[in-house]
């Protein structure tokens, strides 16, 4: 994406929208427990915010999240998910049985935290993969660097 679509109007609109898209992404992930939403949807919103900035301002923008960083995020998401699943094994539970450690009072409090953790893992993976796909497609049409 050597030639961003930027113009003062687009720039102002993107600046206005981006924080709200990011906030909504966080809301969809965290509140997915009690309302429609969750990791997959939140991840898409997160990636959409970064892609919007990249489209408008060119590749180095978007918090400089390149292919390597995005792939790292995706890896971290899968590892986080699988890692949280391992924790209950040390407390006599089954794999992915988040409620077994009973760190917090209440019958389901620890389970809710575990569920939130794996949702964050899903979010990172989805967002990372979408950014990888965007970067791969955007690089395809790129001109030879001089």
């Amino acid at each position: 994406m050597r030639f961003p679509l930027g113009s003062p109007t687009l720039d102002a609109a993107a600046r206005l929208m981006t924080p709200f898209v990011l906030l909504f992404a966080a809301y969809v992930v965290v509140h997915g427990h009690d309302s429609p939403g969750g990791g997959f949807q939140g991840g898409v919103l997160l990636a959409a915010a970064v892609i919007l900035v990249k489209l408008v301002r060119g590749r180095p923008a978007g918090w400089e999240i390149g292919t390597r960083t995005a792939l790292g995020l995706a890896c971290a998401g899968v590892v986080l998910f699988a890692g949280i699943g391992v924790v209950p094994l040390f407390f006599g539970g089954s794999y992915l049985d988040y409620g077994v450690p009973q760190w917090l009072p209440g019958p389901t409090a620890t389970r809710v935290i575990g569920t939130l953790g794996i949702e964050i893992g899903v979010t990172l993976t989805v967002a990372g993969v979408l950014l990888v796909v965007f970067d791969a497609l955007a690089a395809w049409g790129e001109e030879e660097p001089a």
Binding site: A74, L96, V133
Partner: protein
């Protein structure tokens, strides 16, 4: 033509098609999943998982394995896209086109 392979495929396909006639009708309220799995999730899902959203209760808790697999599938799809579409050049920091 590979006749043994064709015969084996036809045999397995025939067995599967025959077995599919024994499945409950689509949406049958008396099928085993509708009789005890779904009511159990609906009645005790929120109490057992702490999730008011039943979709999250099933997706992230009861069927956590499934979701872990889905996440791995998405990750694999991203890797495949990178390999096929040509992000490899960007990855190595060179341009070999």
């Amino acid at each position: 033509m590979n006749l043994p392979a064709l015969g084996l495929t036809a045999l397995v396909g025939g067995v599967l098609i025959h077995a599919s006639t024994g499945l409950p009708a689509f949406g049958d309220p008396d099928s085993p999943p509708s009789v005890h799995v779904s009511p159990r999730y609906i009645e005790r899902g929120t109490a057992e998982t702490g999730a008011a959203n039943l979709v999250t209760a099933v997706l992230a808790d009861y069927r956590g394995w499934d979701t872990l697999g889905e996440t791995a599938v998405i990750f694999t799809a991203g890797l495949a896209c990178l390999l096929i579409v040509g992000g490899g050049a960007a990855w190595r920091g060179e341009d070999d086109r």
